[in-house]
């Protein structure tokens, strides 16, 4: 095992996170190294016990006090590590390049967070592009929750980012099962207060998920090759064949985002999105029951009724916020795309959806949804 304090490769912007397991089953952040302008901060891990507490976890000290000896092997509490991805100045200046590699060992859980939106500062020239590359490898049974704040590209900025997630082949006994992934990628129109409306030189963001061959079980017979499972690329590049203003491609949206979900940890959340999408009122249909006033009731509402009320309330709010969204099952993923007239509206909606379903906070603690506040 390498020394966590060892000087890492000295390339600027490089970072490395290795989450491994100390025998018998204690997840530890084996490596957290970084170089300017990237900065990684790992606060102490939290304990999550999904069955007992619906919401947040407790601290490490509590765990050692005795929660450890839970009889139920499946549901017992576990450690969730967190790493904040920060950059000096809260963003990237022209020409900055970030290159972050993350590895999650079997059955570990990691939260990646940012602190405030990632600002992309003005570039002197369209050809000077700030870049961010992130590569995360998830071993079987591990789970990554990456709900960052939106990227905020300022006017005349140029930015390209790529996120590559590798799911290591989880077939075979005792592998730990399919890795779970919950990643959000969203971008807004810039500094709205200054009147910026998608006024950057260029912006590109690509998310790819690959199935990686299992290195320890090299089977020569099969052509062992990584296979593309999902690719989602947003290219807001200048083009001669489109209107010169990016805002004309955005149909009055000021924020656009993609949420990618897969794996057993996020199955319930994915199903929630799909069910809610299915339950959306039809576009262009007459809304017959909009103003139905229900008689005052004395009996308390059932949970179903409460959910129904929340749903109607959210759908009303979606209209107000000009929120458009879709959810679809793409292979073993659930892919959610959304856009809204204001960043706040999108945040409100996403936070509502994720918190109402509740499994993210249940499985990772409240910290995982910090950016949705």
């Amino acid at each position: 095992m390498s020394n966590p304090f060892a000087g890492s490769s000295s390339k600027p912007g490089f970072g490395k996170i290795i989450l491994s397991v100390l025998p018998p089953d204690k997840p530890v952040l084996e490596t957290v190294s970084y170089q300017y302008p990237l900065k990684l901060i790992a606060p102490s891990p939290i304990i999550v016990s999904p069955r007992h507490s619906r919401s947040s976890g407790s601290t490490l000290e509590d765990k050692e006090a005795g929660d450890h000896s839970s009889p139920d092997n499946q549901q017992r509490s576990y450690l969730v590590h967190t790493v904040y991805l920060l950059t000096y100045g809260g963003g990237l200046v022209a020409g900055d390049a970030i290159n972050l590699t993350t590895t999650l060992a079997r059955s570990t859980r990691l939260i990646l967070l940012t602190q405030g939106s990632t600002k992309i500062f003005k570039s002197p020239d369209p050809s000077v592009i700030s870049k961010q590359f992130m590569n995360a490898t998830l071993l079987p049974g591990s789970a990554l929750c990456y709900l960052p704040d939106p990227v905020q590209p300022f006017g005349k900025s140029a930015f390209e980012q790529t996120q590559v997630y590798g799911l290591v082949d989880w077939r075979g006994q005792n592998s730990g099962g399919e890795p779970s992934l919950c990643v959000l990628d969203w971008v807004n129109q810039g500094r709205s207060a200054l009147g910026e409306k998608w006024d950057f030189w260029r912006y590109g963001s690509k998310n790819e998920v690959y199935l990686l061959p299992n290195a320890s079980e090299e089977r020569q017979s099969e052509a062992r090759k990584k296979r593309l499972l999902l690719r989602d690329a947003l290219l807001l590049h200048p083009s001669a064949t489109l209107p010169s203003l990016f805002s004309e491609r955005m149909d009055n949206l000021s924020i656009f985002g993609t949420l990618i979900l897969c794996g057993p940890v996020f199955t319930a959340l994915g199903d929630h999105f799909l069910a809610e999408f299915e339950a959306l009122p039809r576009i262009g249909g007459r809304n017959w029951d909009s103003d139905a006033v229900s008689a005052p009731r004395t009996t308390p509402l059932t949970p179903e009724e409460q959910a129904e009320i929340r749903k109607l309330k959210r759908q009303k709010q979606e209209k107000v916020d000009g929120l458009l969204w879709t959810a679809a099952r793409v292979r073993n993923f659930v892919l959610v795309k959304f856009g809204a007239k204001e960043t706040e509206g999108a945040k409100r909606w996403l936070s509502d959806m994720i918190k109402e379903e509740g499994s993210v906070e249940r499985e990772f603690g409240e910290r995982a949804t910090l950016c949705l506040r």
Partner: protein, 340 residues
């Protein structure tokens, strides 16, 4: 003065001119060093008069440009219907009025907004796959997988796979016998081919065709083994019959030049969208023809082909993100006349 004289003079000039043009044309047809000169792209070597390749290319082009192809494409609007529903002609009030559309403009302006966005989306998401399959037919299965991985929603996926399956069926039932048979058997005796070529280029081309045919055969046998399903296993590459890669491969088999393939792919899309617009009562049939005939569309398609033909599939992506929302939300429309 004889009034005929000037006329005769004019006629003489005209004859001289015509003779000059005929000579020029002959020269262009038979350049002095055709064989050693700059080599044109492989599928179209220069040939003596009459040029059967040109004729058969034209014939193939007309076949593929038929608005009936791919069979059933009339059922898809590629998001137009959803776009219209999201931009109703009678807007509620100023604040919620989309910027794309203003009351004073006629309905047809909606199409002139939508069509460029839709074409750009198609060029950036699909054209690299069309051309990759065209250039490297043996990557068909991989391209089909990658395209499937890049298709963001059920509606778009359904539209693509349905049309791909239809295209495959047209090839299988209608084209294959006429375009492929002779090439697989023996490369030296392929005289009955509809594409007579110069002997030196023939072997290479046949090898090329064999690769493409083999790729298609492998693909079809996979298809037979794993009938397409909505959520294929992440471990086994399952053919999904996506339209774009199959289109590229088919054009390769039919020996259309790459550039023509790309142009035709985008043009067909424009035609399908415009025809959907007619049926959605956004514009009249004459206006529709005017849109298709317009220089604007021609330049746009040329520009898009130029912009995207050099880019690989890993560079493909969505240039107009809101199109994904419109297409995805098509399912939520109250009334629908199209499948996408």
């Amino acid at each position: 003065m004889n009034p005929l004289e000037p006329d005769q003079q004019a006629l003489k000039t005209e004859i001289a001119d015509l003779e000059q043009r005929l000579q020029n044309a002959r020269q262009r047809l038979n350049p002095p060093h055709a064989a050693n000169g700059s080599t044109p792209p492989i599928p179209n070597p220069p040939l003596p008069v009459p040029d059967p390749t040109a004729v058969s290319t034209l014939h193939t082009l007309l076949l593929l440009a038929d608005s009936a192809l791919p069979l059933g494409s009339f059922a898809f609007s590629s998001g137009l219907e959803s776009f219209l529903a999201h931009h109703p002609a009678t807007s509620v009030n100023g604040s919620s009025k989309p910027q794309f559309q203003s009351q004073s403009q006629p309905q047809s302006s909606l199409l002139s907004t939508f069509l460029p966005l839709s074409l750009s989306t198609l060029a950036s998401t699909s054209l690299p796959y069309v051309l990759a399959a065209y250039r490297e037919p043996d990557r068909l299965l991989e391209l089909d997988n990658d395209f499937d991985a890049s298709t963001p929603c059920t509606v778009a996926r359904r539209a693509s796979t349905t049309q791909g399956r239809a295209l495959l069926a047209v090839w299988e039932r209608s084209f294959r016998g006429h375009y492929s048979g002779e090439h697989i058997t023996d490369s030296t005796t392929a005289t009955a081919s509809p594409f007579p070529t110069s002997p030196e280029g023939q072997r290479e081309e046949n090898d090329n065709d064999n690769t493409a045919l083999k790729a298609l055969k492998t693909y079809q046998s996979h298809l037979h083994l794993h009938p397409t399903s909505l959520s294929p296993s992440p471990f086994t590459p399952t053919p999904c019959t996506h339209y774009a890669p199959l289109y590229g491969l088919l054009c390769h088999l039919l020996r259309l030049p790459a550039h023509t393939t790309a142009y035709l792919f985008l043009f067909s899309h424009a035609r399908t969208v415009v025809s959907a617009a007619v049926r959605a009562s956004v514009l009249g049939p004459y206006q529709a023809q005017a849109v298709l005939a317009g220089a604007e569309l021609r330049e746009r398609i040329e520009g898009l082909v130029w912009e995207w033909e050099g880019r690989g599939t890993e560079e493909a992506g969505q240039t107009v993100p809101v199109v994904d929302l419109w297409v995805g939300r098509h399912e939520k429309l109250y009334s629908r006349i199209f499948n996408s």
